[in-house]
């Protein structure tokens, strides 16, 4: 639920350095606005931020972007994109899903992410979080997935393992409860933990 009537989604990309969030939040506050939700990631020295903010008075998205840019640029390569939020929610699928984690390790080569993501898309499996990292010629890919319950997990596992064999990758598809059980204090459930 947003605090004010006029809601915007704001995206910032910049070289990573201290003070970016402070600058962005200052700009929002100067409009009497509120930050309703935000998430940031730093990858390869680059900072990216997605934020849902709401303000009491309507403002042109470009003007809001300009306000944030002015507050934050300070000589850095700083880009801002703003658009009015339409309050999007992920479409609810017809059937419930279970949470699984795919992990793949192997010698890096172009097309790894494409091959796996294409397969998952073809099965209507949603990727809710994705991590990839190349180190010393090795690539590791970890994805958190929502898998529709009608799929036979062992069939998916066999397909993915075969795809891994073709690429020279070790691929595993495991229910997320095993990761919850080994790392977190919350309870696991047969359907995956409540989020």
């Amino acid at each position: 639920m947003n605090r004010f009537e006029h809601v915007y989604v704001l995206n910032v990309m910049s070289d990573d350095h201290p003070g970016i969030v402070a600058a962005v939040s200052n700009a929002i506050e100067s409009l009497g606005g509120n930050i309703d939700a935000c998430s940031q990631t730093v990858l390869g020295g680059y900072f990216t931020l997605i934020m849902i903010c709401s303000v009491p008075e309507s403002i042109d998205p470009d003007a809001l972007a300009g306000r944030v840019l002015e507050a934050g640029a300070g000589g850095f390569d700083f880009r801002v994109m703003v658009r009015p939020s339409r309050g999007l929610r992920r479409p609810v699928t017809q059937e419930s899903c279970d949470r699984f984690v795919i992990s793949a390790f192997g010698k890096d080569q172009p097309g790894v992410v494409r091959r796996f993501s294409q397969y998952l898309a073809g099965k209507d499996i949603n990727i809710v979080d994705l991590y990839g990292d190349r180190k010393d010629d090795e690539f590791v890919l970890v994805g958190q997935l929502e898998v529709p319950q009608h799929w036979d997990i062992r069939m998916l596992q066999t397909d993915l393992e075969q795809m891994g064999l073709d690429l020279g990758f070790t691929v595993k598809l495991q229910h997320e409860n095993v990761f919850v059980a080994t790392n977190q204090l919350r309870l696991t459930t047969a359907m995956g933990p409540a989020n």
Binding site: V101, V142, R154, L173, Q174, F179, T182, N183, T188
Partner: protein, 457 residues
């Protein structure tokens, strides 16, 4: 949402450090299979095992695949065979054992435990049938495991039973001489036997247990030693307290995996979830070893002074981590030190660092007892009984489970190597010092009374 570092750390534990679930054991009450006619008894027994356990392996395989965690053994445990065999003879014992063996094979389970007699205060008719039939039963079955409880905190130590068991162990060894006395590896002699133990050879279902439950034995020596190695590489100023903390955290993670698997298998099978046994159970694979952990803790030669203290710390940390992870802890729950099944322990015996007496001291602070120890085939029965009596005394006085699984290897002398194969591993035959010097003590017989500590009411 899970964090990537959490996912990567678990994947490392599963795939690089070989975390597995050592056993899923279906515990079944079979008392309702009793019948005056042995053929009738065996038909009921077979029917019950097949109807209850035929889906166990398939369910375990499915759950193991879902979580990406191997389940190494699928097993059955039953209420003591002595109850079924009361009023029958030794011929019936072999028929019952073969029925168990065949049903276990049909269900594709690895072992069936519960060929058991509880004789801590005295030997009843059914118990005697079980004990006397053991040489024949263990020589003629593959999957049947036996246990005898000869002592308890409340009853004391039944020296008459121990005297008998000493002779029976030698007979089992003789009956399985072609397999280097391997039949003895399928018999455990206990003090304070746990009623919900999922590990073999001592698994059985005690009085008060439900009709059917799933009990889990986790593994993890390899995971613990990897965690210690990683921590030691990061920091060279660690104290033993820091290392205990690392073991505790690892034990928490391992136990949570066990409980996750156990609850799901139980649900799918439509039976109650019983317990997670927190034991660290080694395998002969290099690295998956409790001895290796002792080395990580700075004991360069296992058996050297400090070994008992290090093992006590390990055992305690495993319990503390596991207790927080699960409210359903049971079984043996402690570190195992089965000599032939643990490559580092076996090596320590071969090098002369680890002797029987030091092992006995170590068992006073960890789980089980003198386990998977090969001894010379000419060890007198009374000496075997006396070794058992010593171990039972540790259990009774300290109010803990202790056990003995000795294998007198026919024709073998101290120092000879024996190989039992697979998870049972290999070991040098250990020297038994002062052999024959306890005969008069054992021949007194009777019962060593329960200690003062038993009178708590």
């Amino acid at each position: 949402m899970l964090r990537t570092d959490e996912i990567l750390s678990t994947i490392h534990m599963l795939h690089a450090e070989h975390l597995d679930v050592r056993t899923v054991t279906l515990a079944l009450n079979v008392e309702d299979c009793a019948a005056p006619n042995v053929e009738h008894l065996c038909r009921k027994l077979r029917q019950k095992l097949i109807s209850r356990a035929s889906r166990l392996v398939e369910i375990c395989d499915r759950v193991a695949a879902k979580y990406g965690i191997p389940i190494i053994n699928k097993r059955l445990a039953i209420t003591p065979a002595s109850t079924l065999l009361a009023g029958h003879g030794r011929g019936a014992a072999l028929q019952v054992a073969k029925t168990l063996d065949d049903a276990a094979a049909e269900c594709r389970v690895d072992f069936v435990g519960g060929f058991t007699a509880l004789v801590h205060k005295g030997i009843a008719a059914g118990d005697d049938v079980v004990i006397q039939s053991l040489p024949e039963v263990l020589a003629n079955t593959h999957r049947v495991c036996a246990s005898i409880n000869v002592a308890s905190r409340k009853a004391g130590i039944n020296m008459d039973a121990i005297q008998t068991v000493g002779h029976v162990i030698l007979k089992i060894a003789a009956a399985t001489a072609a397999q280097q006395g391997f039949g003895c590896a399928k018999l455990v002699v206990f003090a304070n036997i746990p009623e919900d133990n999922p590990f073999m050879a001592g698994a059985y279902v005690g009085a008060g247990e439900p009709e059917a439950t799933i009990n889990i034995g986790v593994s993890g020596p390899g995971v613990v030693s990897s965690a210690l190695r990683r921590r030691l590489a990061l920091d060279n100023k660690l104290t033993l307290g820091d290392l205990a903390e690392e073991i505790k955290i690892t034990s928490f993670r391992v136990t949570r995996v066990g409980e996750l698997i156990g609850r799901e298998v139980a649900k799918e099978l439509g039976v109650a979830f019983g317990i997670v046994d927190l034991s660290l159970a080694p395998t002969p694979t290099v690295g998956d070893s409790v001895g290796e952990i002792l080395k990580m803790l700075g004991i360069a030669q296992i058996g050297a002074p400090g070994s008992t203290a290090a093992l006590a710390m390990l055992n305690d940390a495993v319990k503390k981590g596991g207790l927080f992870a699960s409210s359903s802890v049971g079984g043996l729950s402690g570190a195992f030190i089965p000599v032939s099944e643990d490559a580092a322990l076996s090596e320590a015996v071969a090098k002369g660092h680890l002797v029987l007496e030091k092992l006995e001291a170590m068992t006073s602070v960890c789980s089980v007892g003198l386990d998977m120890i090969a001894i010379p085939g000419d060890t007198p029965a009374e000496t075997i009984s006396a070794i058992i009596a010593d171990e039972m005394a540790i259990g009774v006085v300290n109010d803990k489970t202790t056990a003995v699984r000795l294998i007198p290897v026919p024709g073998a002398k101290a120092g000879d190597m024996v190989n039992f194969g697979g998870l049972f591993g290999s070991t040098p035959v250990m020297e038994v010092r002062n052999s024959g010097a306890s005969t008069a003590f054992v021949r007194f017989g009777g019962r060593i009374p329960a200690p003062m500590q038993s009178l708590k009411n």
